[in-house]
Amino acid sequence: MSVSRQTIEELQSKARIIRRHIVEMIAEAGSGHPGGSLSSADIVTALYFHVMNVDPKNPKWPERDRLVLSKGHAAPVVYAALAEKGFFPKEELLKLRKTGAMLQGHPDMKATPGLDMTTGSLGQGLSAANGMALAAKLDNKDYRVYVIMGDGEIQEGQIWEAAMTAAHYKLDNLTAFVDHNGLQIDGPITKVMSPESIQEKFKAFGWNVIDIDGHDIQQILEAVEEAKTVKGKPTVIVSKTVKGKGVPFMENQVGWHGKAPTLDQAKEALEIL
């Protein structure tokens, strides 16, 4: 695929900006989920700044591509991307989670322009994405639907009901990511309740499965392009990631799932990012 070296570098530096926002906004809020926001940062950056056809001036544009952040606790990564895209002023980022804020702790599509679905209760996003993909087929529209799930989240039974649905209705306009960072709240996914083998499960459910490094922009873009060419079945991109990616003291640390950095820790993180 022909993505220039320059495009990749631009996206990489955009991802760094997104990560900086994540750290700053969660530190300012005093609560939130840095680990899973940082692990999805490269995927979200690639989607919003290269892949998805959206219009910040017209967030409800019917032809737009859609993203459902099924792992809704990672809201800061999408908020940062939407602000950088110009859906709303960046000042909003620092009001995250405060009383009356546009940016709720978990995605609230009624409150935030650019959000395609309200999420936060894990396991529900893939079903909604199915509905959007079915609607595109009914309406003969060629927008695509993207969804990001956590690797702990896929323990929810509803995910597998939805996985069955997507294959049954041959939703080739749907591309799912599993942010495979190996951790959930109570520990490593394999210790708590193993969903392995994620790839084999989706294959058995009738999906096209692509394995990538979820921090490699080039691989993300290639996988998305491949998904567009696969007809008759949905694609899942199982993305190997590092929870807390980019902030060394957070990387692979289960304790950084749902804890805000102090202002000092945020400063330390920003010096590295």
């Binding site: 405060k98 999420t119 309740m193």
Partner: protein, 314 residues
């Protein structure tokens, strides 16, 4: 200075103590063991603790199966994912067969705070109260939480215990008697009866002090058991004042206020009544105390409502 403690910490400690006394007690969680505090039980009794992962519906079914084989399961998650996500499993696999499963959920109400509406259960009391065979308890502080856990284990059948997240004032005493289904008058008065549940009991007590300063003598009643409701005590108290205020960290539709109103109307009791609760809207992100204020769940608002009620009748 009032002592403060989070009811959910008290839950974790009580569960361990209960586990020491009764080896049939087992605990289940759904990837929130540190938040609900069942992790304490898990550390102490490795074999009797099951983390089902992010799969609340499955957890309720597994709890049902354990109870069918003689164990006393305590299944925990956040209130929204227990009463909400797994509602129908609780109905058909636990309440209908009347199984001995205890559902002890934390993070009830808007004091969940910053996580926002998706995580704030404000309809769980209503849902759980509607289920035949279910007992519904909403402890007001850490001490009462512990007593509720022990009392729940002592009775046969499904019990729902709704436990608050934040650090909260301790307003009951160790030596106070706790009996499921028996409400408690915490302060006697003659002008207005305030029925409160959960964290709102402390707010009602605080309001009663201010009201007293302003010449209004309020009764404060702790309705720790929503079901079975202590109808006799409610009727007795309302007969004295004919003025009723209910306060709950919950929608006003179907919770404590509704339950009290049902009793009063059906028994033909004439009374002025005002329900304080969340007025048919969702919660939102924010500081817990700010949110309580926003939704009228503050001592100040209880005072205002009581004053208006008394003024109107003068």
């Amino acid at each position: 200075m009032t002592n403060m403690k989070s009811p959910r910490i008290a839950y974790g400690e009580a569960l361990v103590e209960l586990g020491e006394k009764n080896e049939l007690v087992v605990a289940l969680d759904a990837d929130l063991a540190h938040a609900t505090q069942t992790a304490l039980f898990g550390e102490r009794f490795k074999d009797r603790f099951f983390n089902l992962g992010i799969a609340e519906q499955n957890m309720m079914g597994v709890a049902a199966g354990l109870s069918l084989c003689g164990f006393i399961p305590f299944a925990s998650t956040f209130a929204i994912f227990g009463a909400g996500r797994a509602f129908e499993q609780i109905r058909n696999s636990i309440c209908y067969p009347k199984l001995n499963v205890k559902i002890a959920v934390t993070h009830g109400g808007v004091t969940v705070g910053e996580d926002g509406a998706s995580h704030q259960a404000i309809e769980d009391i209503s849902l759980m109260r509607s289920l035949p065979n279910m007992t519904v308890i909403v402890p007001c502080d850490a001490i009462e939480t512990k007593k509720a856990v022990f009392a729940a284990a002592d009775i046969e059948g499904p019990v729902y215990i709704r436990i608050a997240r934040p650090v909260a004032p301790i307003i009951t005493k160790e030596e106070d008697n706790f009996e499921i289904g028996k409400a408690k008058v915490l302060k006697e008065g003659k002008d207005v009866s305030i029925f409160a549940t959960g964290l709102m009991v402390a707010k009602a007590l605080e309001a009663a002090v201010t009201l007293g300063d302003r010449g209004i003598d309020a009764t404060v009643i702790n309705i720790h058991t929503i079901k079975p409701l202590d109808e006799d005590l409610i009727l007795k108290e309302v007969a004295k004042t004919s003025k009723v205020i209910t306060v709950e960290e919950h929608t006003i539709l179907g919770g404590l206020g509704s339950a009290v109103a049902e009793v009063l109307v059906e028994k033909g009791m004439k009374a002025q009544m005002k329900r304080i609760g969340i007025n048919d809207t969702f919660g939102q992100s924010g500081d817990p105390e700010q949110l309580l204020e926003h939704y009228g769940l503050s001592a100040q608002n209880i005072v205002k409502v009581a004053e208006e009620m008394v003024e109107n009748l003068k």
